[in-house]
């Protein structure tokens, strides 16, 4: 029982990380039909810069980590917005070219990060509490999972509030449903594209700093490896659906944890099988309605 609880909560913690990456991917695809393969680079860069600033503020301190998370948010948002303005906008409605340019950015940026920070991951120092565990009904839960779950939950609530309560959120929700019609109403939907990219980038940026907390290190390939799972989550949840991404994140991570523990480290295989099963039974994903 305690093992199940441990696997469950650590799974949700990993799912939180997936969600931070997948939420942006799903919104961007939903609104613009762009599969953003550069999303992992936003995460990696934010992770590195968050760490660089954070350790100067206070290496291994809470202040350093919180400043790092803030830097991650800002860096993620800025880099994503610039990517949209410079690369994506120029290729408006040309989806193959958009995919190619984001793939290119993803590959080139990893090489750049390796050039700056080296090919090996760098071990980082964290506040002591995060390295300890909390007893929940006999299960010793690593404390860093609480930080991941709390942050992702906060991001989810903020994005939902933004989508449901702001004027821009209304434009984005309508745009996910039918982009052409929003334009016909006389709304410049391209401005919403930049906003969605910035929001997705901010979430991924925060995810970058939290990924370094989860793995205890920062590295040039962190974004790339998380991006694969995030894409799987996005497809399972349904492209364009935020709630789908949230549910699928937790589902995928929990399945992964359990398969790794009980089925001899077959977590990744289980995730791919889950993806295949969902695609066969519900090709639009759990909550997806978007068909571009």
């Amino acid at each position: 029982m305690t093992t199940v609880l441990l696997l469950l909560i650590t799974g949700v913690g990993l799912g939180a990380l997936y969600f931070l990456v997948a939420s942006g991917l799903s919104l961007i695809y939903g609104l613009m039909g762009v599969l953003n393969f550069a999303h992992g680079s936003f995460l990696t860069l934010a992770g590195f810069l968050g760490w660089e600033v954070g350790r100067r503020v206070g290496d291994g301190s809470w202040a350093g980590l919180l400043v790092g998370m803030l830097v991650g948010l800002v860096v993620g948002a800025l880099v994503a917005a610039i990517t949209e303005l410079v690369f994506i906008r120029a290729l408006y409605e040309r989806h193959i070219e958009q995919v190619l340019v984001t793939v290119g950015l993803g590959l080139a940026s990893v090489a750049l990060f390796e050039g700056i920070w080296g090919t090996d991951p760098i071990q980082i120092r964290l506040p002591e509490w995060l390295g300890q565990t909390t007893d929940v009904l006999g299960a010793n839960i690593p404390n860093d999972r609480w930080l991941l779950i709390g942050s992702a939950a906060l991001v989810l609530v903020l994005i939902v509030l933004f989508l449901q309560r702001t004027s821009y959120g209304l434009v984005i929700r309508a745009g996910v449903e039918n982009r052409t019609m929003v334009t016909a109403l006389g709304i410049d939907v391209r401005r919403a594209f930049t906003v969605v990219f910035a929001i997705g980038g901010a979430a991924a940026g925060l995810g970058g700093v939290l990924a370094s907390v989860y793995y205890g290190q920062v590295g040039a390939h962190q974004g790339t490896s998380l991006l694969i799972y995030a894409f799987i989550v996005t497809v399972i949840g349904g492209l364009g659906s935020l709630s789908g991404a949230a549910i699928a994140s937790v589902l995928v991570a929990v399945i992964q944890q359990f398969a790794n523990f009980y089925l001899g480290g077959t977590g990744d295989l289980a995730v791919v099988l889950a993806l295949a099963a969902v695609l066969l039974v519900r090709p639009t994903g759990l909550m997806g309605k978007v068909t571009h």
């Binding site: 309560r165 702001t166 004027s167 821009y168 209304l170 434009v171 929700r173 309508a174 996910v176 449903e177 039918n178 019609m181 929003v182 016909a184 109403l185 006389g186 709304i187 410049d188 401005r191 906003v195 309605k289």
Partner: protein, 252 residues
Amino acid sequence: MTGDRPALELDAVGLQIGGARILRDVTMRVATGEMVGVIGPNGAGKTTLFNVISGVAVPTSGRVLLAGDDVTGQRVHQRARAGLGRTFQTSSVFAGLTAGENVRLAAQAWLGGATSPWRFPRTDDEASGVARRCLEEVGLDHHLGTSAGVLSHGDKRKLEIAMLIATEPQVVLLDEPMAGVGSGDVAGLVDVIRRLHRSGRTVLMVEHHMEVLLGLVDRVAVMHHGELLAIGTPKAIMADPAVQKAYLGESV
């Protein structure tokens, strides 16, 4: 409003695509506050006429004037700004949003509220007020919080008209508003269109439902093979032998 200048003027408008002449020398003047029905067999050029007026299609000859201003070279959103609104043959509401949000979106587009990302819509702000007023005008105020996807087809059409009103058009083009509407919804929709007209707006309407059309409009324009065959009061048009031969005689 604009006094003696017609709300809408078509001056020898022609549209040629390849070798096909879709519209030929259509000349028409619609006075401010007038309601004109456009009829004609399928393929007569009715929707193309609407496309040319709204800017979806660019005429190869002739001019389109709104309240005396030449808008021939203007694009769709510019003409919308100049006071032209239209609905489409197929229903075009956002099914995932509530009725109130649909109209609010249109009002936002018109008021420019969509450009300030951090402003939270409040129930008492201008766009929400416009949304409520427009829903009231088409009799859908009780559906403010209802998801647009579950509305009846007739109510969806009313919702489109509410979205149209929110952009404060002077000239309104309705493309087959009765298409696909259940018989129980027709009376309510007719009422909405009548009120739309009585509030001083100029209305052009393509409609196959002749009974409805003849009871609503001041004049009827008959299109045939891309030409304006005749335009006049419903009575005069029904009595016109050329019209009977070209259109009514064939399809009724």
